[in-house]
């Protein structure tokens, strides 16, 4: 259904082309060859009521003609054009207002302020369409704000774009925009009309167009935002009653008396959409409690400390559990050696026996470090040669240069490795030779060999390793984990409800009966384990160290503690404004419905969302969310008895289930047309409003609001 909100039927200004003049007969002929169903006559600073009536009459069976005028606006020292379009029912009054402002004025020089315009036309419930951006002469944002502020319903202000592309861009940025032909030559109209905008929903009156303006920011279809309709064939009541339903990517209301099968239809729609690849389910009010949905008991709740960046310390814990004391050299060995008198002359000459063992660890570590670096460079060399993309992206000369440098680095590292290898192995060999010589000398002379070391190195290394491990474990268990707060839902005026999961790592002193362990481990071994760790940390440099480690090993159930995650405890509660909160059943319904609607889905199937909910919550929270989903092009299918939902959401589609004389009928319609038609034409049409008033609960005010818009 095409709409043209900017049409000239007369040459008014000196600069207007003669080809703007059109007779009623010619107009009639042209319009009948187009798909334009709504057209607003907007001549420059001029309204001809007689011509308007003549044209309207000639095309009344194919097209609505709305009275309008294109005014020259003088505002902030700026001249711009503004279309004012009125309800055809008020054409006479509109004409009178036009005469009032234009009396004695030359259309070529006429100009009016925004305030004067609004003062003249506001009570006629007009639409204001301002030339915008590249549609010149245009009103700026400041002037548009002035206009919006002066009129009672700012949604009646639309920005006129120069063409469909501009309008699409404006709409995608949240501006309500439209464009018209601004016809210069009526001979071109038939062709031009093909590019005119389509309304998103067919409307058959000025009032319905206003309703559409109130519903959507985008009144017209654009490439970016287009309402589509699925023809869905389902058989919710068996093969005997197959129904084809139009489901829009907007709000689809399913209503009717209790027991007419609305839930079955929702389930059937869910099955249909699942069968074609969507994942849908029917949300049933009061089906579950919020405590279960948010898993307040934490059944199967599982997290690891590593999820929060905390070291699991798996290797460290294992190392502590398996730590053993390292032997040291006894003084007796020194006494035995030095108490004997060496008489063997050869043995006296063998100076090698005086050499002490040299620590090999440093040399071995240095060898490992150089090996690691060498390996990294080799990996990079392989990456460079294997990756064809590198050659595509980087100049060959640069790569050749890099390859050359790499080879030189590798050569250098290989030399270093050779040296480190020699160093490490020569030390090892030397230590072995010294040991063998000492053993042989002992055998020959009977004098016990001299100890090769005090044992301090290994003893100290063992303690250092334990200290390092304990330090890491202590750091981990003393880490505070910030609570996880999941948004649960909006409780209206009370505030927003969050599901808060607090996590604690048992640090030896944590006691709270409200907390449960995350892993399958009892609290007692957790606490004992943490306390033993602290005890070990205090005894790293004492002779009791291994007694403390033994105490840890003897904790009942310690075998299940393998990482810091095994020390985790959690507590999950709802919080409102930072305080613990226990939602009532009604609030549970609020939260679950809110949660369902705020999940990002393509299709929402909701059964009786109003159950246990107050009107305020439905109006203030739920209806706006549903409208937003519709704007985003989601399919929202709601079975409801609530007028607030069925009416205030201004659905594209209402599906009514009627039981009459033992027969069931499915009828569809919408508030814009105000009719309900039987989908298989087996029953006469019904009045949407009448049926809605009769069937839907509450909501007199909802209909009152709708009435204001419709005028019926």
């Amino acid at each position: 259904m095409k709409i043209d909100i900017h049409v000239h039927t007369k040459k008014v200004k000196t600069g207007d082309a003669d080809t703007r003049n059109v007779t009623a007969d010619r107009f009639n002929e042209i319009i009948r060859s187009t798909d334009v169903k709504i057209l607003a006559i907007t001549n420059h600073n001029h309204f001809d009521i007689d011509q308007y009536k003549e044209i309207s009459e000639s095309v009344k069976d194919v097209c609505q003609i709305w009275p309008g005028i294109e005014l020259d606006i003088q505002e902030n020292s700026k001249r711009a054009h503004l279309l004012v379009i009125a309800n055809p029912k008020t054409a006479e009054a509109f004409n009178q207002r036009c005469e009032n402002i234009l009396a004695g004025q030359n259309p070529n020089t006429f100009a009016i302020s925004i305030a004067a315009t609004v003062e003249s036309f506001e009570d006629l419930d007009c639409i204001y369409i301002a030339h915008y951006m590249n549609k010149t002469p245009n009103l700026g944002d400041v002037e548009l704000e002035t206009l919006s502020a002066l009129i009672s319903n700012p949604r009646r202000v639309i920005k006129e774009a120069a063409n469909s592309i501009s309008a699409g861009i404006f709409i995608s940025h949240g501006h309500n925009s439209i464009y018209g032909s601004d016809i210069q030559d009526w001979n071109d109209y038939e062709v031009l009309s093909q590019g005119l905008p389509d309304l998103r929903l067919p409307v058959d009156s000025f009032e319905q167009f206003c309703l559409l303006l109130d519903k959507n920011e985008a009144t017209i279809n654009t490439i970016l935002q287009k309402k589509t309709c699925d023809k869905v064939v389902i058989a919710p009541f068996g093969a005997g009653e197959i129904m084809t339903l139009d489901i829009y990517n907007d709000i689809n209301i399913l209503f009717g008396s209790k027991g007419t099968g609305k839930t079955d239809i929702l389930k059937s729609l869910s099955a249909y959409y699942n069968s074609i690849g969507y994942t849908t389910s029917v949300y049933m009010s009061n089906d579950r409690h919020v405590n279960d949905v948010f898993n307040l008991r934490g059944q199967n709740f599982n997290v690891d400390v590593s999820d929060f960046g905390v070291n699991e310390c798996t290797a460290e814990i294992e190392s502590i559990k398996t730590a053993t004391e390292v032997a040291i050299t006894s003084m007796g060995k020194y006494r035995q050696h030095f108490s004997g008198e060496e008489t063997n002359k050869i043995a006296q000459k063998l100076k090698i026996k005086t050499i002490n063992h040299i620590d090999e660890a440093g040399a071995v570590r240095a060898l490992d470090e150089v090996s690691g670096i060498l390996q990294e460079f080799k990996t990079f060399q392989v990456f460079l040669s294997d990756n064809t993309l590198v050659g595509d992206l980087i100049e060959k000369e640069l790569i050749d240069e890099l390859v050359d440098v790499l080879e030189r680095i590798l050569l250098c590292l290989k030399v270093k490795i050779d040296n480190q290898f020699l160093e490490a192995n020569s030390l090892k060999l030397l230590n072995q030779i010294v040991s063998i010589f000492n053993q042989e000398i002992t055998k020959k002379t009977g004098i016990p060999q001299k100890p090769t070391g005090t044992g301090f190195t290994d003893y100290a290394r063992n303690r250092i390793e334990i200290e390092q491990n304990i330090r890491k474990i202590k750091q981990a268990i003393n880490t505070s984990i910030l609570p996880i707060e999941d948004y649960a839902g909006d409780l209206g005026e009370k505030g927003k409800l969050y599901c808060k999961t607090s996590l604690m790592i048992q640090n030896g002193s944590f006691i709270n009966g409200a907390y449960e362990t995350v892993k399958n481990i009892n609290k007692t071994p957790q606490k004992e384990f943490a306390n033993r760790i602290l005890s070990i940390s205090r005894h790293v440099y004492s002779n009791e160290l291994f007694e403390k480690i033994a105490d840890l090993k003897h904790i009942e159930g310690v075998e299940h503690i393998r990482s810091i995650s095994d020390l985790l405890q959690f507590n999950r509660v709802f919080v409102l404004n930072g305080n613990f909160y226990n939602p009532s059943n009604g609030e549970s319904s609020m939260i679950l419905l809110h949660k369902e609607l705020t999940e990002d889905k393509e299709i929402y199937l909701i059964d009786e969302p109003e159950k246990s909910l107050g009107n305020d919550y439905i109006n203030d929270v739920i209806v706006p969310i549903i409208k937003e989903k519709a704007l985003l092009g989601k399919k929202v299918i709601i079975a409801t008895h609530d007028a607030n939902i069925a009416v205030r959401t201004l659905p594209y589609n209402s599906i009514y289930r009627l039981r009459e004389n033992g027969l069931y009928y499915t009828m569809t319609g919408n508030p814009f047309f105000n009719t309900l038609k039987c989908i298989n034409t087996s029953r006469a049409e019904l009045d949407w409003k009448e049926i809605s008033m009769k069937t839907l609960e509450g909501g007199k005010s909802a209909f009152g609001e709708r009435g204001k818009i419709y005028g019926n």
Binding site: V305, I328, M331, T454, G455, F456, A460, I464, Q475, S480
Partner: protein
């Protein structure tokens, strides 16, 4: 590196090697096989090394068996202390006050 004194205490019941560290003196009994005594001394030396590398120098005027034992023992111990001090430095265990500085952190979900 600091050089500290080592002396031999010859007594009738037991003789000891007395080592002077940064924070106090440690005594190794020379006349008994007492691993716990040596471990205690090693523990003290290890803690002392965190305050800086030390090397012991034997001061004694007799050339008896105790002198030879202690001379050899100190020679070996000095070499071992150098290796361990390097490791303490490597693992950032030298300064005691740093030990708990990283505790009480706050972790957030990643």
């Amino acid at each position: 590196m600091e050089t500290k004194t080592a002396t031999i205490k010859r007594q009738t019941d037991q003789s000891k090697l007395a080592l002077q560290g940064h924070t106090g003196s440690f005594e190794i009994i020379l006349t008994e096989d007492n691993p716990n005594n040596i471990k205690s001394v090693f523990n003290l030396i290890l803690k002392d090394l965190k305050n800086g590398l030390i090397q012991f120098e034997l001061t004694d005027d007799k050339e008896d068996m105790y002198y030879h034992i202690c001379k050899e023992y100190i020679k070996q111990l000095n070499a071992e202390m150098v290796a361990i001090y390097e490791e303490l430095e490597r693992y950032d265990l030298v300064a005691e006050e740093k030990e708990d500085s990283a505790n009480n952190q706050v972790a957030r979900p990643e």
